[in-house]
């Protein structure tokens, strides 16, 4: 386990560095000087030179990358071109919305998907098993933002039960109000995520239900529930946990689009605004934070998977697949 942890941590650090490099290269090597964002049409050459000096885009690329990395290491993500405020604290303020949104949606998606996926597999020949499977098939084809629009129309505009969008100015000072503004976005993301999760739970359960060890346990006199509890769940959990890590990352990204539907001041809306205004430090900062989050979630999911599946721990040293 120790050696694996070391290797996996090294890989994580390497990926973080590579991701930062990829972001930087893609944003800089493509045509257009970031300084253009500071200038109006018809700027004089002197103004252009001054703007380039101000943001450092006149320096050699490698030096720019070095100073950006050094900033990253000190958690300094630079200063927005548009608001002239530091990007780091702004991202932290946005995470106050995005992180609870992601976690609540993720938990709700899991709570929906585990029982539904199990029933869809266990009763795969009954009409409701088929119906659940069909609904999840449909669910993976529906874009999240459209579900959000429809939910807003019904629950906010028609029934006037919940706010259509926005977030309290004082964030979580009144938790009740903050939660009601998150209700529709959370349900939107959870519905979309659970559709794909149900399919994984269903197929993992189907594999277990058809397995020889479950039949043997039943033949030796275990009840169905007993055999499932002792042998089935742990085996079914392995593929599901590995997919949960990816799903958590996807939920986080799903928030990027859904925040725009509900005009929530989260990381996603910050990115979209940054792109519209060519605000490079903001784009770079948001992308680096989200990519790091995705990589760290993947790392954590791998560790959890090894904890619950002893077979993965047995083959140390990494054979080739």
């Amino acid at each position: 386990m120790g050696r694996y942890l070391l290797r996996r941590t090294a890989f994580l650090l390497g990926s973080l560095l590579a991701a930062a490099a990829l972001l930087f290269v893609l944003l800089r090597l493509l045509p257009g000087d970031p300084a253009n964002a500071l200038l109006s049409v018809g700027a004089t050459p002197e103004q252009i030179a001054a703007a380039r000096r101000q943001i450092g885009s006149d320096l050699p690329l490698l030096q720019q990358f070095g100073s950006w990395l050094a900033g990253l290491a000190r958690l300094d993500l630079g200063t927005s071109f548009v608001s002239r405020l530091p990007v780091g604290p702004e991202i932290a303020a946005r995470l106050v919305v995005t992180v609870p949104l992601t976690l609540l949606a993720f938990v709700l998606a899991v709570v929906i998907a585990l029982p539904v996926g199990f029933v869809a597999a266990w009763r795969s020949d009954r009409w409701y098993g088929l119906l659940l499977n069909g609904v999840s098939q449909l669910g993976i084809a529906v874009p999240a933002f459209w579900i959000g629009m429809l939910l807003v129309t019904v629950f906010a505009l028609r029934l006037r039960l919940l706010p259509a969008g926005g977030f309290p100015r004082d964030d979580w000072a009144e938790p009740g109000r903050a939660l009601t503004s998150l209700a529709l976005p959370v349900v939107t993301i959870a519905l979309v995520m659970s559709a794909s999760l149900i399919r994984y739970v269903r197929s993992a359960t189907l594999d277990v239900l058809g397995s020889d060890y479950l039949r043997t346990a039943r033949a030796l006199g275990s009840s169905f529930a007993g055999a499932m509890w002792r042998h089935g769940l742990r085996n079914a959990a392995v593929p599901v946990v590995s997919i949960l890590g990816i799903e958590l990352a996807t939920t986080f990204l799903g928030a990027v689009v859904v925040e725009s539907v509900f005009t929530l001041p989260g990381l996603g809306t910050m990115l979209v605004e940054g792109i519209a205004e060519h605000d490079y430090p903001v784009i770079q900062g948001v992308l680096v934070v989200s990519t790091f989050a995705v990589l760290v979630i993947g790392f954590a999911a791998d560790l959890v998977q090894r904890l619950i599946d002893p077979r993965l721990r047995a083959h140390v040293g990494g054979g080739r697949p």
Binding site: F11, G14, S15, A18, A19, L22, L23, L26, L27, L30, P31, G32, Q137, L138, I140, A141, V142, P143, A144, F145, W146, M149, L150, V152, T153, L157, R158, A249, T250, L253, V256, V257, S260, V261, L271, V272, G274, I275, A276, H278, I283, L287, S290, T291, V294, L295, G298, P321
Partner: protein, 270 residues
């Protein structure tokens, strides 16, 4: 039997959208930028599905949207398949260290979520049809490459490849005669699933205002524009979404059908 039913339904749904897109090339009810219809005209009376808030005919916009969705979807799948299969073949055949380097690079690229990578490309270029294809295709290529690599390595371990090599067949001929024929069914299934995801990604980009700009009426942008008038003109906020779902469900069913047709062992079991 179920595989065949799914396949037929998938053909009908995807074919419907394909027909709309094909028809839009030769005939449209109105010019896409014709705003003479009056704002938010109700369905009927000259405009079968009514008009949007700028007075453009909704049916015309939907037909153009079908074309955009398919163009971006198929374009990015072609790009992703070309880059992905080439990269995957290279990694599958490569020596240990090159393979290790390529798979590490792929793992990192896959950790980069499709939509973020796409937004990055759009941020660096400008929002256009080409950017959308490039962005989604690039993001997809890493996933295709990883799958291709695994499939290639599985084929290369087979005895018939060893037999072919010992009897003096060159590597390019091994690829053409043994590797590609054995991996294409699985690849085709995966690529058709990717087509559905690409269509959804384009719609999301367009909804955020980062997709092909007007006069390319993307379904995602139509939905975004209709959001403000959802109570007075609900059709504009529903129809593009329904067409999106029809196309993606159709393509997913086609993928399921391909899978069952390609793999006889699955045909009986589920």
């Amino acid at each position: 039997m179920r595989g065949r039913t799914a396949f037929v339904i998938g053909c009908v749904l995807a074919g419907l959208i394909l027909a709309m897109a094909a028809l839009s090339l030769v005939w449209l009810p109105y010019d896409p930028s014709d705003t003479t219809g009056g704002r938010l005209a109700p369905p009927g009376d000259g405009h079968l599905l009514g008009t949007d808030k700028l007075g453009r005919d909704l049916l015309t916009q939907l037909m153009v949207g079908a074309r955009i969705a398919l163009t971006v979807g198929i374009g990015s799948v072609l790009l992703g398949a070309l880059l992905g299969v080439a990269g995957g073949l290279l990694a599958g055949f490569a020596s240990d260290w090159l393979d290790d380097a390529l798979s590490a690079a792929l793992d990192i690229l896959i950790a980069f979520p499709t939509l973020l990578l796409a937004m990055l490309v759009v941020a660096a270029r400008e929002a256009s049809l080409g950017s959308a294809v490039l962005a989604i295709g690039l993001a997809m290529s890493a996933i295709v490459a990883r799958l291709t690599r695994v499939l290639v390595m599985r084929v290369l371990a087979q005895d018939y490849v060893t037999a072919a090599r010992t009897s003096g067949t060159s590597w390019p001929r091994v690829v053409i005669e043994h590797v590609l024929p054995n991996i294409w069914p699985t690849l085709l299934v995966n690529l058709s699933l990717q087509l559905g995801l690409a269509v959804l990604a384009e719609a999301s980009l367009s909804y955020l205002g980062l997709g092909p700009p007007p006069p390319n009426a993307s379904w995602g942008r139509l939905l975004q524009e209709a959001q403000a008038t959802v109570l007075t003109a609900p059709l504009g906020a529903v129809a593009p979404g329904v067409l999106l779902v029809v196309l993606v469900v159709g393509v997913n069913l086609l993928a399921d059908g391909f899978r069952d047709l390609a793999d006889p062992t699955r045909r009986r079991s589920r």
